[in-house]
């Protein structure tokens, strides 16, 4: 790619905001970009609100009957919710007496008295929920809101880590060149010679399960593209005068790498970061389908889809729809925002 000409004359990184101001102005002129920005911001706000417990706080409460109908389908028959009648099984016999062998037997009386005092309230379950219920009778809309928290968190964190790995390695390879570059190129070649999905599966086969695992797997397998681009940027910038100038005034290598050059490569990194967020949010679904990760007391769009895989056949489409649609909207907005961002930051790339 050709270089960004405006950068050339910039003597010091302090003035690089000029690029950002320009980019921001360009973005403001892009109506589609703005709409997408608004959508993404809404999702992020929703995620924060859910994280702070402002919305979907009791997503885990079972408010409705099993697979409660959505409010707009209130009249539909719901076979899944019917009381199971064969619960009082064959044996009506008297419960077996354990008092002669039970270690708890000496306190039977106390136990009964205490138990009698504890009131168990039967929750009233509603027949319908605003957007339908899942198997347990939880509101799928709330689940989808709560699910955004984990899904976006996984996408963002994994993308941040991947970007960090890619940037640091790319910077090292591009800046130092020589042996360091050879070594990192070798490393890069190893990772890219294995098809991406296979790499993920291979990592998945050996790692323990957990949310952190998903993030680690995605980060460890996803850094390669960023590495390549950052390296190219660094190679380009290393010979620039402002870097030489920095060297002349005695800036250390680290300072040159990360204080001077990094801001000038940051637009590339930003675009990559947002592209990776999108692809990692999608990857979380696949990993959840394989049962890798999100703990049972949490919910993500991926676990919702995995859970809903048989629900379409039984006519309960709402969970599949809620999770699929919330994800699709965010991912669409995010990808289009990424496009706008790229256009704004680097108009020549259009």
């Amino acid at each position: 790619m050709s270089s960004v000409v405006s950068n050339y004359s910039l003597p010091a990184p302090q003035e690089s905001p000029g690029l950002w101001t320009l980019a921001w102005r360009r973005l403001l002129g892009d109506r589609v970009g703005l709409v997408c920005l608004a959508i993404v911001a809404t999702y992020l706000a929703m995620m924060m609100a859910s994280w702070a417990g402002l919305v979907a706080r009791d997503w885990n409460k079972e408010k409705g009957v099993s697979y409660a109908n959505p409010a707009f389908l209130a009249g539909a028959e719901n076979l899944e919710a019917r009381e199971v009648t064969n619960r009082d099984f064959a044996s009506k016999a008297k419960p077996v007496d354990l008092s002669d062998i039970d270690p708890l037997a000496p306190r039977y009386k106390e136990w009964e008295e205490r138990a009698a005092k504890i009131a168990v309230t039967e929750v009233k379950r509603s027949e319908t929920l605003p957007f339908g219920g899942d198997k347990w009778g939880r509101d799928v809309l709330e689940k989808a809101v709560k699910g955004s928290e984990v899904s976006i968190f996984v996408g963002l964190t994994a993308a941040l880590f991947a970007t960090m790995i890619g940037t640091v390695l790319g910077a090292m390879a591009g800046y130092w060149g020589g042996k360091v570059n050879d070594f990192l190129e070798w490393f890069y070649n190893i990772f890219t010679s294995i098809p991406y999905i296979l790499l993920i599966l291979a990592f998945a086969a050996v790692f323990k399960r957990g949310l952190d695992t998903i993030i680690v797997i995605l980060a460890l397998t996803g850094w390669t593209g960023i590495y390549r681009l950052v390296r190219a940027e660094y190679i380009k910038h290393c010979g620039r005068e402002y870097v030489k100038a920095a060297q002349a005034i005695g800036a250390s290598h680290l300072s040159r790498m990360f204080v001077h050059i990094l801001p000038n490569a940051s637009h590339v990194i930003l675009v990559q970061l947002s592209q990776h967020v999108v692809s990692f949010i999608k990857a979380e679904v696949i990993l959840s389908f394989l049962g890798l990760g999100v703990p049972v007391d949490m919910v993500s769009w991926g676990t919702m889809l995995a859970e809903a895989q048989n629900e379409l056949v039984i006519g309960k489409w709402w969970q599949l729809f809620a999770a699929g649609a919330s994800m699709a909207i965010l991912v669409t907005a995010f990808s289009m925002l990424t496009d706008s961002l790229r256009d704004a930051l680097d108009p020549k790339l259009k």
Binding site: N60, S66, L79, E80, R82, E83, V84, T85, N86, R87, F89, A90, S91, K92, A93, K94, P95, V96, L98, I101, D102, P103, L104, P106, R107, E110, W111, E112, R114, A115, A116, K117, I118, A119, V120, K135, W136, K208, R209, G210, L290, G291, L292, G293, P295, V296, D297, A306, E307, Q309, N310, E311, L312, V313, I314
Partner: protein, 602 residues
């Protein structure tokens, strides 16, 4: 690109025709079914999963088997001439094999017909102990047969099992007679010899195929393995060397509709009637279910609980299926699901009252009603003891209130023994005031296990106990359970043979590290168990079993789950069907009305 359904139907019809030897030949009977999970292979002594063993049932024949129609199950001779009486106080069993039974043809026999002889039985039992095969069912013959342990120990040292070594307990008296001498009395030994993988294989075949025995099963059974595309397609064809069976209607229940129908359809005919069986392993539930609905398969084995309301709304067959005369076979399987507590764990383990109280409270807190109604869609019976219905020693009058969902009693019990929330964070602490956090391990690869874990987390939270669930790889779960690296974990046990002993051994102290995953060691229990081994079936043994089950309830090494109920769906052109509780398949008794199928599929 889209093609009409008619073309699909035509293609299916073509498939049926194409399977025939030549155009214009007599219509062949080809049964097509799905298998719930991928098979492992067909070397009887090397496999243990229920589905592989189910296929093997059709290729090999044990000495004894179960009558097709009799309920409760009943042993009948198969390759043996008769069921032997126990001799020498239950330590000796002598069999005479029916002469003239032939193995299926195989190149390993070099063109000769090969008759089944007593040596084959001896050889196959020895194979269970050969370290080379690491047989999953080795335990059946451990510390069991006189002289066999010594040969097996020698093999462990040298790495080679000496098949020619004389074993006193496997005495081949003549060409057709073999006598087993046991180290201790065992009144369930005949059941072991009816297990579908305790079957004779021919030594020539095993030696000819070396490491490939999984793909070359050669037995005396009614079918042979014709074709095998692993994890995708298994094809059985009728064994031309097979002598044929006849249905024995003597033990049938005249009031049972399935028995009557089977007798109508099969009596007096030479079995097997099917020419070919094609089995397709399909692990995902949606495609397996839809494929059956679309007539791609002839029956649906173990309808996934999630789809039950589609086929049996309100417990009655759905109208669309009723119009097609689909039949439902409901089966309570001799199995039990359960959650184990690790009795060696410092938090949930132990035998002192406050430890027992914690386990008992967790059991009471667990919402089994939701498990049954929501996760199992009512297709399960709550277990009252570790012994499922349908096995000898099951006590229908045994009712356990200790396992019912009762959050009030759970809370009372926790309060009583000092599991209180002292710091007001909403979670209880241990009596010593330390934080209480429990962990439940489950198989990461299974959506249904995940939901069971979800239910545990909810149930414990409802009584103020903090419980988390961690997903682990299937293999790691097995390993952790074996070595006791867990607090709580889910499991299931299906009967190897229909006797309560097969379930109660799961609590026997010396089995810790093997099948006793709870690591439950209670002297009282172990003494009862040992006594029960030496007693034949009867009131005395049942009383011992009852005592053992009471101890299980009192000390709660398990949370008893359910006995699952399975619904098998059949199209009307499948004839002679009846599901056996111990045997997995029944191909040799099935018949197919090919014309009816063709008419319906059109």
């Amino acid at each position: 690109m889209p093609r009409p359904a008619a073309l699909l139907a035509a293609c299916l019809a073509c498939a049926v025709l194409a399977a025939g030897p030549a155009a214009g030949a007599v219509e062949r009977k080809v049964l097509r079914v799905a298998l719930r999970t991928a098979e492992a292979g067909f070397d009887p002594q090397r496999i243990f999963d229920r589905y592989s063993v189910g296929i093997v049932e059709n290729i090999f024949e044990p000495l004894l088997t179960y009558d097709y129609l009799a309920r409760p199950v009943r042993l009948v001779p198969l390759t043996a001439e008769a069921i032997p009486e126990p001799e020498e106080g239950g330590t000796r069993y002598t069999f005479r094999i029916r002469p003239g039974i032939l193995f299926a043809d195989d190149p390993a026999f070099k063109g000769r017909k090969r008759e089944l002889v007593a040596r084959d039985i001896e050889y196959s039992v020895k194979r269970f102990r050969d370290p080379r095969y690491a047989s999953p069912y080795e335990w059946l013959f451990e510390h069991k047969i006189a002289g066999l342990d010594e040969v097996a120990d020698a093999a462990k040292k040298t790495g080679r099992f000496d098949y020619d070594a004389k074993v006193a307990g496997l005495e081949v008296r003549d060409r057709y007679t073999i006598s087993f001498k046991l180290l201790e009395p065992d009144f369930n030994f005949l059941y072991v010899l009816a297990m579908p993988n305790v079957v004779p294989v021919a030594r020539e075949v095993i030696e000819a195929y070396g490491d490939d025995t999984m793909a070359h099963p050669v037995g005396t059974g009614p079918f042979v393995l014709k074709d095998w595309v692993r994890r995708s397609k298994i094809v059985l064809e009728r064994n031309p060397n097979h002598r044929g069976y006849e249905l024995d209607p003597r033990w049938a229940d005249p009031a049972d509709e399935w028995d009557r129908r089977a007798i109508d359809e099969l009596a007096g005919r030479r079995l097997p009637l099917l020419d070919r069986v094609e089995i397709f392993p399909i692990e995902e539930e949606q495609p397996r279910f839809l494929a059956w609905i679309n007539h791609e398969h002839d029956y649906l084995d173990e309808t996934p609980a999630e789809f039950i309301e589609q086929v049996l709304p309100n417990g009655r067959l759905a109208p669309a299926l009723a119009r097609q005369h689909v039949a439902v076979f409901r089966e309570e399987q001799p199995e039990v699901t359960y959650d184990v507590f690790n009795l060696e764990d410092p938090v949930v383990g132990g035998y002192g009252p406050e430890r027992v109280a914690l386990r008992r409270a967790l059991v009471l807190a667990h919402d089994r009603d939701q498990e049954i109604s929501i996760l199992r869609k009512g297709q399960a019976i709550p277990a009252q003891s570790a012994v499922p219905p349908g096995v000898v020693g099951y006590d229908a009058g045994f009712r356990a209130s200790q396992q019912d969902h009762d959050p009030a009693r759970a809370k009372a019990l926790l309060d009583l023994f000092g599991y209180l929330d002292r710091d007001g964070d909403g979670w209880r602490e241990s009596p010593e005031g330390k934080p209480l956090a429990l962990d439940y391990k489950y198989n990461a690869g299974s959506q249904s296990n995940r939901q069971l874990a979800e239910l545990w987390v909810k149930s414990a939270a409802a009584v103020g106990v903090r419980l988390s669930a961690s997903a682990v790889q299937f293999v790691d779960l097995l390993n952790d359970k074996r070595v006791g690296k867990f607090q709580m974990a889910g499991s299931a046990w299906i009967a190897d043979y229909p006797d309560a002993q097969n379930f109660l051994q799961l609590f026997y102290g010396p089995n810790t590290g093997q099948s006793n995953e709870a690591r439950f060691r209670l002297a009282q229990f172990d003494a009862l168990y040992r006594r029960s081994l030496a007693v034949p079936d009867g009131a005395e043994r049942n009383a011992l079993y009852r005592e053992m089950n009471r101890l299980i309830l009192a000390y709660a090494p398990w949370r008893l789950g359910v006995h699952r109920v399975f619904n098998h769906l059949l199209y009307p052109w499948v004839k002679g069907y009846k599901k056996h509780p111990i045997l997995y398949t029944n191909f040799k008794y099935l018949d197919l009305d090919v014309a009816a199928r063709q008419a319906a599929v059109k």
